[in-house]
Each structure stands twice: as structure tokens, then as C-alpha cells.
């Protein structure tokens, strides 16, 4: 039944495929492929893994990621159990609070924990958060608990509560019910969240670099160090290959456990829960959330206002209006803010346009197109900024394709990192549309392309906007790829924060905190304003 005629719909398909593929090939597959080809020589593998420090870095990467994701899962479970099983006044606020860290740039979170360390004078104590594995793990839990909470709050209400009630009438204790009835049913949601958390902590860059400092190295930071400081590209490429393997493995696992068909969300009345949650537990939960997720931001804010002469906006003034200490002339923080906003917007546009086209292909009527897209178009989702930046650095550097020094390569890279998210969120939203609606449109005379434009697009617009907002936040806070491609005359907010933190003095430190606060506020504003419906559920990643 294949119509070989170039119908308008087929033409649209062709244009879509070609444009997306071209973009992907130039800016994604070619750079990544370059890493593979540079690193895939026997000698470089040998060289890389005889190095003791690299082996240690690999080991550290693995164990901190494991512990971070495991703890995130446990803490996420505890928090979710209260959210899912009870209703109370500030629940929405607290839920939102647990999600904020996830959209926050890594530099902001690192700054926040540095400021906590400062304020509480933890340096030298066992609880020291700077330059320690503890600090890294805590920061990672800070980021990734929200993934677990988000997944569970959407999947937990859907499991069969009647089985819990049945177990209760058969005499099972609370604990038993949880471990033998509830947990097995939550398994797939937990595995999906855990694999994502592992992926993010494995490829974590900003936190390790800034919070971990010189003494803590992971595969990601070593790629950066070998590529930019030592210009030893082969070793960096080998590490990149290791990274890629882990990414592919985690994405595969995550894909297997993804619960995509959530068409029916039955809102169960609270009466149906097997056990209600005690007031004490609710209180402990709320205090923990406020403390763990809220406190670091408050401290960050406080540190940004705390000058040697008392609390004031001095650092903000210095940042935005004066060039502070002559000794350490930073290249225009105003420029950095402007650049970040402009490039972030550009990246958002790129991510949305390419992401929508990708979503169109992912949900295409033609099985082969959607299958092919599903495999290739979602790859950027897991690839880290460092890998992409490194790839672009060593590939797009000759002749006609010498893009790496162009100003627009950074928003393109940032946009590419966001494409996967927009594509995934959009295609999930499309899948939720009742197929009969499309059939109806079809029988009323709408071609494939018109169905896409008149039916799919308007219906998923809310989700797409949320995805765009998120890709903007991602671009604003992007640090990994930018650190490879940035030029001093064209700074971004994250690289400026990083530079400020690297220089001594209370003034530069204060300014770093202030800039982090500014970045955090902009990010939070954008995401909360555009994601009104709260549709950024982690099932969508």
C-alpha cells in the first residue's frame, strides 16, 4: 500500500527528515564520531588505562554516582510516600520546591553549597562540603531526588491500591505491605528514575569541577582537563568513549522501564489509601524538604548580600555597574548576562524547532520513520555537554566547517542538548492524544501534515512550551560544552561565575554568589512562568 507519488504529506516528511538529519549530522554525529575515531586506537586505550590517576578517576566516578543515585532513590521514596498518600495545604509548594534543584544550573548549586560551607564554617570539619566526596554526593542528591519524586508522584497513584488493602485485610503489617506489595509495583518507575539519576551523576561536570575542586576528578572532568589543559586529545577521546558506553547503557535501561501509556490518570480519593500518613511524618517531611532544598538557596542569597561592612547590595552593584578590584579585571559581567540571555533564547528556539520536527518524525504514521527516529534522534538526551563540546572542538575546526570559534556555535550546542528533551516531551504529549481524534481528522480530509499542524500541534502546545522553557533553563546554565568553546570576549554567566570563584578575595566571592543568585532567579522565573501546568513530569525524559 505504498504510494510512491510525491504527495504533500510525503514531501513534508522528506523535508522534515532531511533538515533534522543535516542538523544532527553536522553538529552531533560528526563531533561524536570524531571522538570515537580519535580514541578508538589500541595504543590510546593502553595509554589511558595504565594511568593510575585515570583509573582512580573512573572508580570515583562509578562509586559516587552509585551512592548518589541510590540515596536519591531512598530519599525520594520517603518524600513521595508522604506526597502521594496525603493532602495538605502547602503540598503543591513543597512539591515545587523539590523540583527546582533539577532545573537549576550546576554552577548555582555548586555556589550554593560553597556558601553553606562558608556560612557554617564547615571547612576542616568532617562535614566539609568543599573538595570532599561528601559535598559532591550531597549536591547530587540535591539535584536528583526531584527526578525520583516526580516519577513516583505520577506513577504511584496508579498502582493497584486494592492489592494493598487486600494485603491489609490478610494481616500484613505496614512494612510488609510496602516491601512485598507496593515496592514491586513501583519497580519500573524506580528503575527508570534511578537510571536517569545514575546517568546525570556519572556525567556530572560543574559540581565536580567547582565543588570538588582539584582533588576530585571524574571521567567528565578528566576529559576536560586532558582536552583543554594538556591538549592530549587521544586520552580525552578514550575517556569520551567510556562515557558514551555508559550513556548508551543507561538510556537503554531507562527506555526499557519507561511507563509511557499514562492516558488514564485516575484520581483516587484519599479514602482509598491503605494507611494514612501521620501528622508527625508530614511535619518531618516538610521540615526536611524546606531545609534540604530551601536552605542552600537562602544561604546563597545571604552570602551574596554579606559584605565586610554589613549586609547590602554592594556585590550586585559591582557586578552590574562597576568593575570592582582593578587587580582582577573580569571581562564585563553585563556582557555575560546579555550573552547568556540572547544565546539562551537562541538555543531555546533551535531546541524547539528541531525538537518539534523530531517529534513529528518520532510519532509518524510510517513505522520505519518513527522507529528510526526513536533510535537516532533521542541520542543527544544523554550525551553530556562536555562530550559535545569536546567533539565540536576537535571536529568542526577545519576549512569550510570551522565553526568552533563562531559565536553561534555555543547556542547551537546548547540548543542541541535541549532538542532531545523537547522531542521527548512533545512526542509523549502526542502519544497521549486519543488516536481516534486523528482518525476523525483524517476521514474529514486532513492529510498527515495537516493533522500534525491543526490537531497535534495545538493540543500539545502546553507541553511544548514547558519543554522550551526547560531548554532555555538548560542553555542558560550550560557549563560543560561552553567551557570548551567559550572565548574570553564572549563570556556566559556560568563561565563568569566559574572565573569569579577561581579568584581570591571576598569581593570576587561575593560577586560570584550574587551572579549565581541572579542566574537562579532568572531560571526559576522562566521555568515557573512557562510550566504552569506542571507538565514537566520526569516520565517525559
Amino acid at each position: 500500500m505504498n504510494s510512491r507519488v510525491f504527495t504533500r504529506s510525503n514531501r513534508a516528511n522528506l523535508i522534515a527528515i532531511l533538515s533534522v538529519l543535516t542538523f544532527y549530522i553536522i553538529f552531533f554525529f560528526y563531533p561524536i564520531g570524531k571522538i570515537l575515531s580519535v580514541g578508538f586506537t589500541l595504543s590510546s586505550f593502553e595509554e589511558a588505562f595504565t594511568s593510575v590517576s585515570l583509573r582512580k578517576a573512573l572508580w570515583f566516578t562509578i562509586w559516587q554516582a552509585t551512592i548518589s543515585s541510590a540515596l536519591s532513590v531512598v530519599i525520594g521514596l520517603c518524600i513521595s510516600s508522604v506526597f502521594v498518600k496525603s493532602e495538605f495545604r502547602f503540598k503543591r509548594f513543597l512539591e515545587g520546591l523539590t523540583f527546582i534543584p533539577f532545573v537549576m544550573p550546576t554552577v548555582v548549586v555548586a555556589s550554593a553549597f560553597i556558601s553553606v560551607n562558608e556560612l557554617l564554617k564547615l571547612d576542616g570539619t568532617p562535614l566539609n562540603l568543599q573538595g570532599s566526596a561528601l559535598g559532591i554526593i550531597v549536591a547530587h542528591i540535591f539535584f536528583n531526588t526531584s527526578i525520583v519524586v516526580r516519577t513516583l508522584t505520577s506513577t504511584w497513584p496508579m498502582i493497584d491500591f486494592e492489592s494493598e488493602q487486600a494485603a491489609q485485610t490478610l494481616g500484613a503489617s505496614k512494612l510488609r505491605i510496602f516491601f512485598q506489595i507496593t515496592l514491586p509495583q513501583l519497580k519500573s518507575g524506580l528503575m527508570s528514575a534511578a537510571s536517569l539519576a545514575f546517568l546525570f551523576t556519572f556525567t556530572s561536570f560543574g559540581v565536580i569541577l567547582i565543588l570538588g575542586g582539584l582533588g576530585k576528578a571524574t571521567i567528565e572532568t578528566e576529559i576536560w582537563r586532558y582536552a583543554t589543559q594538556r591538549t592530549e586529545f587521544e586520552t580525552a577521546a578514550v575517556l569520551g568513549i567510556v562515557q558514551l558506553l555508559v550513556v548508551v547503557a543507561m538510556l537503554t535501561i531507562n527506555n526499557k522501564f519507561l511507563t509511557t501509556d499514562n492516558i488514564n490518570t485516575n484520581l483516587r480519593s484519599k479514602v482509598q489509601y491503605a494507611h494514612s500518613v501521620s501528622k508527625f511524618r508530614k511535619l518531618v517531611n516538610s521540615i526536611f524538604i524546606l531545609g534540604f532544598f530551601g536552605f542552600p538557596f537562602l544561604v546563597l542569597l545571604e552570602r551574596s548580600l554579606s559584605t565586610p561592612t554589613g549586609h547590602s547590595f554592594a556585590y550586585y552593584k559591582q557586578l552590574l555597574w562597576e568593575n570592582s578590584d582593578e587587580r582582577f579585571a573580569i571581562f564585563g559581567t553585563r556582557k555575560a548576562i546579555l550573552n547568556s540571555l540572547i544565546w539562551g533564547s537562541l538555543a531555546m528556539v533551535i531546541a524547539t524547532v528541531v525538537g518539534l520536527i523530531a517529534a513529528y518524525l518520532l510519532t509518524n504514521k510510517s513505522k520505519s520513520i518513527s522507529l528510526f527516529s526513536g533510535i537516532f534522534l533521542l541520542l543527544p538526551l544523554g550525551v553530556s555537554g562536555v562530550l559535545l563540546g569536546f567533539g565540536i572542538l576537535i571536529s568542526l575546526n577545519t576549512g569550510y566547517f570551522d565553526f568552533r570559534s563562531e559565536w553561534w556555535i555555543i547556542p547551537v550546542a546548547q540548543g542541541l542538548l535541549g532538542v532531545g528533551i523537547v522531542a521527548r516531551i512533545s512526542s509523549n504529549a502526542i502519544k497521549k492524544i486519543d488516536p481516534n481524534i486523528r482518525h476523525a481528522a483524517s476521514t474529514l480530509g486532513a492529510s498527515s501534515f495537516l493533522i500534525w499542524r491543526r490537531i497535534d500541534c495545538p493540543i500539545i502546545s502546553k507541553a511544548v512550551i514547558a519543554g522550551s522553557a526547560f531548554s532555555f533553563a538548560l542553555a542558560l546554565g550550560e557549563f560543560g560544552a561552553t567551557s570548551f568553546l567559550v572565548r574570553p570576549q564572549r563570556p556566559t554567566i556560568p563561565t563568569t561565575i566559574f572565573n569569579l570563584l577561581g579568584r581570591p578575595g571576598s569581593s570576587t566571592f561575593g560577586q560570584a554568589m550574587a551572579l549565581s543568585v541572579i542566574l537562579a532567579v532568572i531560571t526559576w522565573l522562566v521555568v515557573s512562568l512557562l510550566d504552569r501546568s506542571g507538565s514537566l513530569s520526569t516520565n517525559d525524559f
Partner: protein, 342 residues
């Protein structure tokens, strides 16, 4: 000579690797109504989707007015489809929903708007144009769906049990209304339903499908008269059908009823059941003993269920006062018992 209407020729279809339709053949005269009866999962929805072009068949052809439309894409066939859940576009108003088909035909806006208003009046929804979809009641959504389907003036309308979600009274009203409109506009239609009585109201012919194959076809009267197989009888609500004890002897089946045995030919692998209609059972003193198990009414008529012989629930039409537990005598003319294939 060209045939005016729909002709389905040797159509087969697969869903998810499984054979759902097997060599379906039938014709439907233009302007007529066909009722498609069958159990759930028998393939009737799939057949509609194949005709509409939403599902591709694995074989066979579809003709409209003798033109082969098998290769025409769905959005060019001009065949309307009404769904079980209406499938109204949630992001558009009532007016926009109905206008959609006209937009696809590039009808100028002013003209399209006028047609929408006319259609709203036709389905008794005057003034509903600016309403949102989620503010409509079941019946109202139904009628918007009808208006939407009619707007592009399709030659053929397929209805996939669209009245399922409605209560009985509403359903009755809407069915009447829909078919009144369809017949006034002389639109050919196929109606999938599992309500046999409803089919009798409006259909010119009936198709009964089981396991992707047509097991009976004809007018309602024809099938009622001669159901031929058990499923048809069930779907049309015929009683009483039961599986008798049977013996296969001398290349013939002997079916044992309390009133005697009936013989019929066939092979050993055939299975038969018997049909005894309520009005063919008489209460007389020289009949067999039966115990009344139930007393009930249907469409105002009084019936009783009895246990007689090895028949657990034999339905009898009565007009006297009989109570449960009473013992009565029933006699039956063996010739009036019909044999059905199972």
C-alpha cells in the same frame, strides 16, 4: 453496468500480526443502511477502519460506484466515520469542529460558516457554536459529532457504535434522529452495533461477523426467520437456544429433545444446537412436565422460564397467571424446533 454503492471484495486485514478479517465480501446499495452485528473483538471496527482507509488491508479491494478506491488515502475518500467516544477536537469550539471538514475541502469561510449554522440547527443544537467541547453533555457531543461528519457531505458514513455511552432513552431518540437525517440526505451508511433490535429499526440489510468472517447476511426479516447459526440467533436475541445431547450414528446426528429426537445430516465434526421459539411452546395437559423458574416481561409481553427435561431455561409466551415454582405441562411440535449450526 455500474453498481451504485459500496462493494467489498475479498478484503482481509491484520492487526498486530493477527488475522482480523478474512476474505470479506459484500455489497451495499447506495442510499441503504447496513447493520454490522458481532461480538466484541470480531473485527467489525477494523472493517470500518479498512473501509475508511485508516487501516490498510492485506488483500482485497474496495469499490465505490464501481471505482476502486483501495489505493486512495483516507483523507481523500470522502467517507465519514463516527466513533464510540466521538473524538471531538478538544482544542476547538463546537463551531470549529463542525467546520473542520469544510476547511479541508477549501470551502470559502463565509459559506462554511453558514453551513455550520445550518447543521447545528439540523441536529437541534442551535446557538451551540461557541461552546467548548468539555462543556457538552453526552447527547450533545453525539450530535456535534454527527454534524461534523455530515458537513463535508460524505457519500458514505460509518458509525462505530457511537451511541454506546448513552442511556436507553437518549439512545433511542438519537438513533431515530440520526437515521432520519441520513435517510433524508440519502447517505449510505454502515452501522456497527450489538443491539439486534436497534438494527431492526433502520437497517436495510444485516451482516453478522464472527472471527473476521461473515457468518450471515440478509435482511433483518430473513435472518430472524432463518438464523442458520447459533451466534446469529444470540445476537438477534432469539430464544431459546440450547445444546442438546447428541449421538452420531450412521453418518447422521441424532439430537435428543424431551419431545423426541431430531435427525439431521452432517459430518462428525459438526456441532448443532436447537432453537425453540417461545410462541411455539403450548401449555397443554398432555405435554411434558415443567417447573416454572422465572416470570418476566419483555416489551410488555409476559414470559416464563421453565426447566423441562434437560433444558434449563425454556422461554414460553404466556397470557395467564402463572407463578414461580408451579408445575405445568408443555407440548411442542417437533417440526417447529429449528436446528442451528454452532
Amino acid at each position: 453496468m455500474t453498481f451504485n454503492g459500496l462493494k467489498i471484495s475479498e478484503v482481509s486485514a491484520e492487526l498486530g500480526g493477527e488475522r482480523v478479517l478474512q476474505s470479506i465480501n459484500f455489497s451495499l446499495q447506495e442510499g441503504n443502511v447496513l447493520a454490522l452485528l458481532g461480538r466484541s473483538g470480531c473485527g467489525k471496527s477494523t472493517l470500518l477502519k479498512v473501509i475508511a482507509g485508516i487501516v490498510s488491508p492485506t488483500g482485497g479491494q474496495i469499490f465505490w460506484n464501481s471505482v476502486d478506491i483501495s489505493m486512495t488515502p483516507a483523507h481523500k475518500r470522502g467517507i465519514g466515520l463516527m466513533f464510540q467516544n466521538n473524538a471531538l477536537f478538544p482544542h476547538m469550539s463546537v463551531h470549529e469542529n463542525i467546520r473542520f471538514g469544510l476547511e479541508m475541502l477549501s470551502v470559502p469561510k463565509a459559506e462554511a460558516n453558514d453551513r455550520v449554522v445550518d447543521l447545528l440547527e439540523l441536529v437541534d443544537l442551535k446557538g451551540f457554536g461557541s461552546r467548548t467541547i468539555d462543556s457538552l453533555s453526552g447527547g450533545e457531543s453525539q450530535r456535534v459529532a454527527l454534524a461534523r461528519v455530515l458537513a463535508p457531505e460524505p457519500k458514505l458514513v460509518l458509525l462505530d457504535e457511537p451511541f454506546n455511552a448513552l442511556d436507553r432513552a437518549l439512545r433511542r431518540t438519537l438513533v431515530d434522529q440520526v437515521f432520519e437525517i441520513l435517510s433524508a440526505k440519502k447517505i449510505t451508511s454502515i452501522h456497527v452495533t450489538h443491539e439486534g433490535d436497534e438494527a431492526s429499526l433502520f437497517s436495510d440489510s444485516i451482516l453478522i461477523i464472527e472471527n473476521g468472517q461473515i457468518i450471515n447476511e440478509g435482511t433483518f426479516a430473513e435472518i430472524i426467520d432463518l438464523p442458520v447459526n447459533v451466534l446469529s440467533a444470540d445476537l438477534l436475541g432469539l430464544r431459546t437456544v440450547w445444546a442438546p445431547d447428541a449421538e452420531f450414528r450412521n453418518q447422521k446426528w441424532s439430537l435428543l429433545t424431551p419431545w423426541g429426537s431430531i435427525e439431521c445430516g452432517g459430518s462428525q465434526s459438526d456441532r448443532y444446537q436447537l432453537l425453540l421459539r417461545p410462541d411455539h411452546v403450548q401449555i397443554s395437559n398432555d405435554g411434558l412436565e415443567a417447573i416454572v423458574t422465572k416470570v418476566f416481561y419483555a416489551a410488555g409481553q409476559k414470559y416464563i422460564d421453565c426447566r423441562v427435561g434437560n433444558i434449563k431455561n425454556l422461554t414460553v409466551l404466556v397470557d395467564t397467571n402463572i407463578s414461580i415454582g408451579e408445575s405445568i405441562c408443555l407440548s411442542v411440535d417437533l417440526d417447529s424446533i429449528e436446528v442451528l449450526t454452532a
